[in-house]
Symmetry: C2
Subunit: 301 residues, 2 copies
């Protein structure tokens, strides 16, 4: 599982700072999460292949999370894209994009679908044979969802030495991976568990931005591997959280600790701070495994 | 008069290339012309002061000329702007921006006005005591205007040695600048022309993008100082001009020559070309005074 940060800042008021956009590669899929202005420029600077993105998940309709979407959709057209694209986002997003395409008299070269969301409870918005995506309803000034990405449990793994010792023909290995007992070369039935290992635990990633401190999400996040949680402010500006409905680094850490996740990724920093290490320091007072999102940083899990 | 190029490319498909946006400083005014995606990032990289921009002129509603407008308008709000902002552009632009502001529940801190255009003949869209702006109707796939910026004729200039020799008190210098004859210290009437110089010829700048080769604009451009004319293609791709309704560098040069302008600025290059000097070379076969627009380049005239 690899996370590529395209933009890691709150509404970008700093030189060279980019607003929220991330690419999550999980179980062979490439998902774009949020799409602030200039995401397409950042994508070009990253190693991510444009054409691999087939789903885009938008959290909410504040500009720093979606103003780059229309430009990306338009550039896909200029690149002659044929592969369908689906955008998941709050109700209204389809109209916002469509009227801009109409104004330019664009003729898209590929099918563009929208899945508009307005539920206040979590729902499964995407599922295929490898991965599933659920919304995480958040608390912000306007309607906002996080997204929980979970790979499905993979196949059992062959314990190759044990399987060879049991004299099982490689033709049966697929059956073994699927959990069956199989016959060896002498016609003896070999119990699956004696020649296989449990599947790797499935990867999981939760994206939670933008939101105020909202403990109700903890139940849904329990035991997931990586949590990205917004941390707009440091403790010194905690008083701004209520009005703006954002979180501090410590509040993000509290969610991570309560949900017992493995790694917390912080981001969506307010432009007022010079040293992002302060975010790490404050969060680590509560939860040790902290990574800082930074523009064009790749994090593998 | 100073032109700052924020973006100089056609729809940006190249790494680090930015779509059209320019800042024109003329007669003490600061105008933004077109506003492709990430214009606000480019503005931050330039020396232009955000707050000095009070008018934005949008040529047409293809994304590479206005997708950055909503982000800039939103950032002005975050910066607590109070000064009014007026956007000039094709009919429909107000709705495109307004519904995005509504979706984010934005409360602008400053008055935002729109002047929507749909005339096929040139009209004066802006005028104050120092400068006037007329539309230049262009020919493109959708409704599109260029803009002609002209400073007004300034005051006469004091020929300081002659004025001192004629023993004119400095208290009369303002009258001299306004063209009046004045009395000297001995009560003699001094003819204005003997102690002043003609005003500097007023600066003028025409922005013509996007457009196919369209000789009808020449009449309006006659004798202006600087012409920016799009040159999307080189001669080798001239056959693409008809369908896309763009121009070649040579066609831009032909307009410049016929209009007898002083300087031609080329830009809006297709992403297929590696060496922009080819644009200069081809244009100079027809018109010698050619400058190339490049991202973040400043050109003084």
């Amino acid at each position: 599982m690899k996370l590529t940060i395209l933009g890691s800042n709150a509404a970008a008021l700093r030189w060279q700072a980019h607003p929220t956009a991330q690419v999550l590669e999980i179980a062979g899929r490439t998902f774009l999460i949020d799409c602030g202005e200039a995401t397409q420029m950042q994508l070009r600077r990253s190693k991510v292949k444009f054409s691999r993105i087939k789903q885009i998940f938008i959290s909410h309709l504040h500009g720093d999370h979606y103003y780059g979407l229309i430009g990306l959709i338009s550039s896909f057209e200029l690149l002659g894209r044929k592969v369908p694209l689906t955008v998941y986002g709050p109700k209204g997003i389809k109209n916002l994009i469509t009227i801009q395409l109409e104004a330019s008299e664009a003729q898209l070269t590929y099918p563009l679908h929208f899945v508009e969301l307005n539920s206040d409870t979590s729902e499964r918005v995407y599922e295929d044979d490898k991965v599933m995506v659920d919304t995480i309803p958040l608390r912000h000034r306007i309607y906002c969802n996080g997204y929980l990405f979970r790979a499905k449990l993979g196949q059992r793994r062959i314990a190759i030495e044990a399987a060879n010792e049991a004299e099982i023909d490689v033709a049966y290995f697929n059956k073994l991976k699927q959990g069956y007992d199989v016959l060896n070369k002498h016609g003896e039935l070999i119990p699956n568990a004696s020649v296989t290992l449990d599947p790797h635990p499935p990867k999981s990633y939760a994206f939670c931005s933008d939101t105020m401190y909202y403990p109700k999400i903890i139940e849904q996040l329990k035991g997931i591997q990586v949590l990205y949680h917004e941390s707009t402010f440091l403790d010194s500006h905690k008083h701004l959280c209520e009005r703006t409905m954002h979180s501090t680094a410590k509040e993000a850490a509290r969610i991570a600790k309560s949900a017992n996740v493995k790694t917390l990724v912080l981001g969506h920093y307010s432009g007022r701070y010079k040293d992002l290490e302060d975010f790490r320091r404050e969060a680590q007072e509560i939860f040790p495994e902290v990574r800082l999102a930074k523009d064009l940083k790749e994090i593998s899990f």
